[in-house]
C-alpha cells in the first residue's frame, strides 16, 4: 500500500527583499508501507527541504509552489492546524539533524516524554512512566536517563533520546534528517544500527536523509539521489551501487573507497601502496611561481618525548582527565603523519601541545631547538611563524567582516618585511598556490560570498602565508561535501610535496588518512595503540581499536546485508 505520494512537488525559498530561489524542482516519488528509503545529496541539494516538507515542518521563507503531498490518502497541505497536530501521533515524525540540540536544555528527559503523552493522551496516565521506560529501553539507554537533563548526556545519548521521543508517537512514517552527522564515528555506527533494528522491529516507513552515500547504502533498500533540487536517480540500493545511471551518482560513488584496500584511488588523488602521486589537475600549482622552493623546505623535526597532558577534574570530586598519556613520536621534516582516533582520543590536545596553546603536564615537545612547553610570548611568536594550523570548520575560521585579501594580508605583514604592493603580490601569489583563480576576484570577496571548499582553501592559504615548516591540519575536510573533500586533500598533498612542508594530519576519517599520509598513529584514550606506515597499519591492523575504527567507515560495498533482508 502506498503511504506517501509526492506529486510534482516544487519548493522555493523566498527570503524577504531578495529573489526567490528554487530548492526542490518537480519531485515525484512514492513510499510503500514499511519501506526504508535513503535520500542522498550534498549540501544545498534540497534534501532537507524535501524532508521538512513531507512532515509539514517547512516554514517561511520556504514555500511549496507547486504539487501535492498525499500522506495516507490525505493531502497534507489541506490539514487544519489542530488535525495536523493530532496526527503527529500515528502519522509522520521527524528526527532532526543535530539531535544534540533537539532537546529542551531546561527539561529532564522524562518531562519530554510527559509533554508528548500530555499532548496526545494516547497512553493511560498510570502507564506513562512505564511507557517512557520502555521507549528509552528500545533505544538501548538505561531508565536512569529519564531523570537527567539533556546537558548531562553525551551527543549519542541525546540523539537516541530524540529517536525514542519520535518513536513514542507511534508514527507510520519517520524522517531521519542527518541523524548521525554531528556524532563521533564509533557512536555514529552504533546509532545507525539502532535505527536499522528499530525500523525492522516496528516496521514503520523510514526516510533517511543524509549527505553520506556510504551510510545510506549500508542501511536502506532504495535510494533517491538529489542534486540541485532534482531527484536525479531513484532505484534499489544494489542498482545505485553497482550500476548507477546518473552521472552525479557515479561521481558520489567515486569518492568512496575502502581504506583497507591494496590500492586506494580517489578522484584527483591516487595511492599505490604507500607511494603517492597526485594528478596535475588537482592543485593550482604551476611553475610560474618564481619563489625559491628550497628556501621553504622544512628542516626542523617535531619531537614529542613521553608527553602527558592531565586536565584538572571537570567537577569537584571527580578524577582528573588524562587527555594525552605518555605519547612519543617524531615528525621528520617533510613527512606527513596522520593522528587518528575517535573524539576524546586526545588527537586535538596533541595539536594544542605542539602549537604551544597548552603546556604538557610531563614530557617535552621540541621543535628544532625550541622547547615548546617553556616558550613565552616572543618564543611562541617565533614558533608560530613555522608551525601553522588549518582548522576544521571553514565557516567559523574566517572573520565574516574581512575580505579574503585582508585575511591573508595580516599574516603576510606580521611575519615578514613585505609591505604595500609587495605584500599584495604575495597575497595574490598565495591565492594562486591554493588554486583560487582568478586571484584578483577572490581577493576582493567576503567569506559569505564563497563556497565552503573555497573558504577552506583560504584558510590553507592563510596558514601558508608566513612560510611555515609545519602545517597541522585538524580535520581539514570533514565539514566539506565529498566532492570537495578530495580537492582539499589533494591541495594539502601537493603543498607538502612541492613546498616540502611537514604535515600533521588530524582526522577520524581513515580513508583520507590513507590517501595523504605516509605514517599513522592510532590514538585511544590518549594512548598510542598502533603506529607505523599508513598503508601497512590500515591494511593489516593489529589493535582491536584500529579494527573497530576501520569497521565504522561507511562502506557502500557493505550494502550486501540490507539486500539479503529484502
Amino acid at each position: 500500500m502506498t503511504l506517501l505520494d509526492v506529486q510534482d512537488l516544487s519548493i522555493v525559498y523566498e527570503p524577504r527583499g531578495s529573489e526567490a530561489v528554487p530548492a526542490v524542482k518537480h519531485a515525484n516519488f512514492s513510499l510503500e508501507q514499511g519501506e526504508f528509503v535513503g535520500l542522498v545529496g550534498e549540501s544545498g541539494s534540497g534534501k532537507s527541504t524535501l524532508g521538512f516538507a513531507i512532515t509539514r515542518l517547512a516554514k517561511p521563507p520556504a514555500r511549496i509552489s507547486k504539487g501535492r503531498i498525499i500522506f495516507d490518502g490525505k493531502d497534507i497541505a489541506e490539514m487544519e492546524d489542530e488535525d495536523l497536530r493530532r496526527q503527529r501521533r500515528g502519522g509522520f515524525a521527524m528526527v532532526l539533524q543535530s539531535g544534540m540540540n533537539s532537546l529542551n536544555p531546561v527539561r529532564t528527559v522524562g518531562n519530554h516524554f510527559a509533554d508528548i503523552f500530555a499532548a496526545h493522551d494516547h497512553v493511560l496516565r498510570s502507564r506513562r512512566k512505564a511507557r517512557a521506560k520502555e521507549m528509552v529501553d528500545k533505544v538501548k539507554l538505561p531508565a536512569a536517563v529519564l531523570d537527567r537533563f539533556p546537558g548531562e548526556l553525551s551527543g549519542g545519548m541525546r540523539q537516541r533520546v530524540s529517536i525514542a521521543l519520535a518513536l513514542s508517537l507511534e508514527p507510520k512514517l519517520m524522517v531521519f534528517d542527518e541523524p548521525t552527522t554531528a556524532l563521533d564515528v564509533l557512536v555514529q555506527r552504533a546509532v545507525m544500527e539502532t535505527i536499522r533494528d528499530l525500523q525492522r522491529e516496528e516496521s514503520f516507513t523510514a526516510v533517511l536523509v543524509s549527505h553520506d552515500l556510504g551510510v545510506v547504502l549500508e542501511s536502506t533498500k532504495r535510494v533517491l539521489v538529489m542534486s540541485e533540487g532534482v531527484i536525479v536517480e531513484d532505484g534499489p540500493s544494489s542498482q545505485i551501487l553497482n550500476n548507477p545511471q546518473a552521472e552525479y551518482t557515479q561521481m558520489l560513488l567515486s569518492h568512496y573507497a575502502d581504506p583497507r584496500a591494496e590500492v586506494v584511488e580517489l578522484p584527483g588523488l591516487e595511492v599505490r601502496g604507500s607511494q603517492i602521486t597526485t594528478s596535475t589537475r588537482s592543485g593550482g600549482l604551476t611553475g610560474s611561481i618564481s619563489t625559491d622552493r628550497r628556501e621553504r623546505k622544512a628542516h626542523d623535526p617535531i619531537v614529542l618525548t613521553r608527553v602527558s597532558k592531565i586536565y584538572p577534574p571537570p567537577r569537584r570530586g571527580e578524577d582528573p582527565v588524562t587527555a594525552v598519556d605518555d605519547v612519543s613520536f617524531v615528525l621528520e621534516p617533510g613527512q606527513s603523519m596522520a593522528l587518528v582516533g575517535a573524539s576524546g582520543s586526545g588527537k586535538s590536545t596533541i595539536a594544542k601541545l605542539i602549537t604551544g596553546v597548552e603546556r604538557p603536564t610531563s614530557g617535552t615537545v621540541t621543535f628544532g631547538s625550541l622547547d615548546v612547553g617553556t616558550l613565552h610570548r616572543s618564543g611562541l611568536r617565533r614558533l608560530r611563524q613555522d608551525v601553522q594550523m588549518v582548522f576544521q570548520d571553514p565557516y567559523s575560521a574566517l572573520n565574516p567582516l574581512h575580505s579574503v585579501e585582508y585575511t591573508l594580508m595580516r599574516p603576510v605583514v606580521n611575519s615578514g618585511e613585505l609591505r604595500g604592493t609587495a605584500a599584495r603580490t604575495r597575497v595574490l601569489e598565495l591565492l594562486e598556490i591554493v588554486g583560487l583563480t582568478p586571484v584578483e576576484q577572490f581577493a576582493a570577496k567576503l567569506p559569505h560570498q564563497i563556497s565552503g571548499g573555497e573558504r577552506q582553501r583560504v584558510v590553507i592559504a592563510r596558514a601558508l602565508a608566513c612560510n611555515p615548516q609545519v602545517i597541522i591540519a585538524d580535520e581539514p575536510a570533514s565539514m566539506l561535501d565529498v566532492s570537495l573533500r578530495a580537492g582539499v586533500l589533494a591541495l594539502l598533498e601537493d603543498l607538502r610535496q612541492q613546498w616540502g612542508v611537514s604535515m600533521l594530519f588530524i582526522t577520524h576519517d581513515l580513508l583520507s588518512a590513507r590517501v595523504v599520509t605516509d605514517q599513522i598513529m592510532v590514538l585511544n584514550g590518549g594512548r598510542v595503540v598502533e603506529q607505523g606506515d599508513t598503508a601497512q597499519v590500515l591494511r593489516f591492523p593489529e589493535d582491536p581499536y584500529t579494527i573497530e575504527l576501520l569497521d565504522a567507515v561507511p562502506q557502500p560495498a557493505r550494502a550486501g546485508p540490507a539486500e539479503e533482508i529484502a
Binding site: T55, L57, L84, R85, R86, Q87, R88, R89, A93, M94, L96, Q97, S98, N101, S102, L103, N104, P105, V106, R107, D115, I116, A118, A119, H120, F149, G151, E152, S162, L165, A166, L169, R315
Partner: protein, 326 residues
C-alpha cells in the same frame, strides 16, 4: 542546595568587602567633616580652638587607631547605628533610612517587577505572533516610550493627570491628614498617591523588557528543540511557554537583576519630581545639604541592595537553569 550555600557564602564575602570599602574610602579623602563645619562657621567670624574641640566632640570624631575604629564601625553597621543626620538633626540616620526605605522598596520595587512581568509576557506574545499587530503594536510603542527621558515623562504626567485633569495627587506618598497605619483606607490612599510615579517608571521601562524578550524569544524559536517539539505535535501553548519562552527568559534575568539592584538608588529623579518620601528623595536632600552620615549610610544601602538583587537572581538562575547548578 550546595549551590545556594555557595552563593550565600559569596554574598557574605562581597557584603563584607563593600562595607570595608565604605569605611576606608572616605578616610582616604582629603579634609574632614570638622574642617567643613569650621569653614562654614569661619564665614561669620573667627573660630576659637575651643569651638573646634566642641565640634569634634559633637560629631564624635573617633579616637584610637584605625583598627579599633574599623571594629567599632563594623559593630555599628551590624546594629544599624549610622550616627545622627546633620540636616534632620536630631533624628538618627537609621530612623531616616528606615522611614524612607519601605516607600521606595514597595513602590519602585513592585513597579519594576510588574514591568518585567508585563514586558516579558508582551515580548513572548510579540515573538510568537511575529509580524502581526500583536508584534508591531507593542514593539513600536515600546521603542517609542522607552526613548522618553524619565523626568520628562514624569513632568508630562504631573501636568496632565495631576494639574489639568486632577485625577491623581501630585506629590507626597499619602494625604496630609492620613497617618501611616496598617488599615485598608491608608493603603488605598498610599496606592492612590503612588499611581503617577509608578506609571512614570512603568512607561519608561516597559519597552526595554518587551524588546529584550521579543528578540531572545525569536532566537529560541529558531532552536532545534522548538522545531522538534512542534514535530512531536505538542500544543502550541506548551511549545511557546515551556520550550521557547522558558529558555528565552534566561538571558533577560541578568537585566532584571540589574534593574532590581537599581531600585533603591535609581529612583532619585522620579521621587524628586513627585516629592515622594523614598530613598531617592532622601539621597537628594543628603547631597544638597552635605549630610555626610546620611550619604554614607545611603551609599551603603544602595550597594547592599545591588548585591542582594544579584543574589536573588543567582538563586533564581539555579532554579530555572539546570546547567548553572553544577
Amino acid at each position: 542546595m550546595k549551590y545556594v550555600l555557595r552563593k550565600t557564602g559569596l554574598l557574605l564575602l562581597t557584603l563584607w568587602a563593600a562595607v570595608t570599602l565604605n569605611f576606608f574610602l572616605p578616610r582616604m579623602m582629603p579634609g574632614s567633616p570638622t574642617d567643613a563645619a569650621l569653614a562654614r562657621l569661619a564665614q561669620n567670624g573667627p573660630v576659637s580652638p575651643a569651638t573646634r574641640a566642641a565640634i569634634e566632640a559633637q560629631l564624635g570624631v573617633p579616637t584610637g587607631n584605625i583598627w579599633d575604629q574599623y571594629m567599632q564601625y563594623l559593630q555599628n553597621v551590624l546594629t544599624l547605628d549610622f550616627g545622627v543626620s546633620y540636616t534632620f538633626f536630631p533624628q538618627s540616620v537609621a530612623q531616616l533610612v528606615l522611614g524612607a526605605l519601605p516607600w521606595t522598596i514597595v513602590m519602585v520595587g513592585l513597579v519594576t517587577i510588574i514591568a518585567f512581568i508585563i514586558g516579558t509576557l508582551l515580548g513572548v506574545l510579540a515573538a510568537w505572533r511575529r509580524g502581526t499587530f500583536l508584534d508591531t503594536l507593542p514593539t513600536l510603542t515600546g521603542t517609542f516610550t522607552s526613548a522618553f527621558p524619565y523626568f520628562w515623562t514624569a513632568l508630562l504626567l504631573l501636568f496632565f493627570a495631576g494639574y489639568v485633569l486632577r485625577w491623581f495627587p501630585t506629590s507626597g506618598a499619602y494625604s496630609p491628614r492620613a497617618a501611616p497605619e496598617l488599615s485598608l483606607a491608608f493603603v488605598g490612599d498610599a496606592a492612590y498617591h503612588a499611581v503617577l510615579p509608578a506609571l512614570t517608571i512603568l512607561i519608561t521601562s516597559l519597552g526595554g523588557w518587551i524588546l529584550g524578550m521579543r528578540n531572545t524569544m525569536i532566537n529560541t524559536l529558531g532552536e532545534d528543540y522548538v522545531t522538534f517539539a512542534e514535530a512531536n505535535g505538542l500544543r502550541s501553548r506548551t511549545v511557546a511557554l515551556r520550550y521557547a519562552a522558558r529558555n528565552a527568559i534566561l538571558p533577560n534575568l541578568t537585566g532584571f537583576g540589574l534593574a532590581l539592584g537599581g531600585v533603591v538608588g535609581g529612583s532619585l529623579l522620579v521621587e524628586r519630581v513627585f516629592s515622594y518620601p523614598g530613598v531617592g528623595y532622601l539621597l537628594y536632600n543628603a547631597v544638597t545639604n552635605q549630610d555626610f552620615p546620611l550619604m554614607q549610610a545611603l551609599f551603603l544601602m544602595i550597594t547592599v541592595s545591588v548585591l542582594l538583587a544579584n543574589f536573588i537572581v543567582d538563586i533564581l538562575y539555579g532554579f530555572l537553569d539546570p546547567r548553572t547548578r553544577r
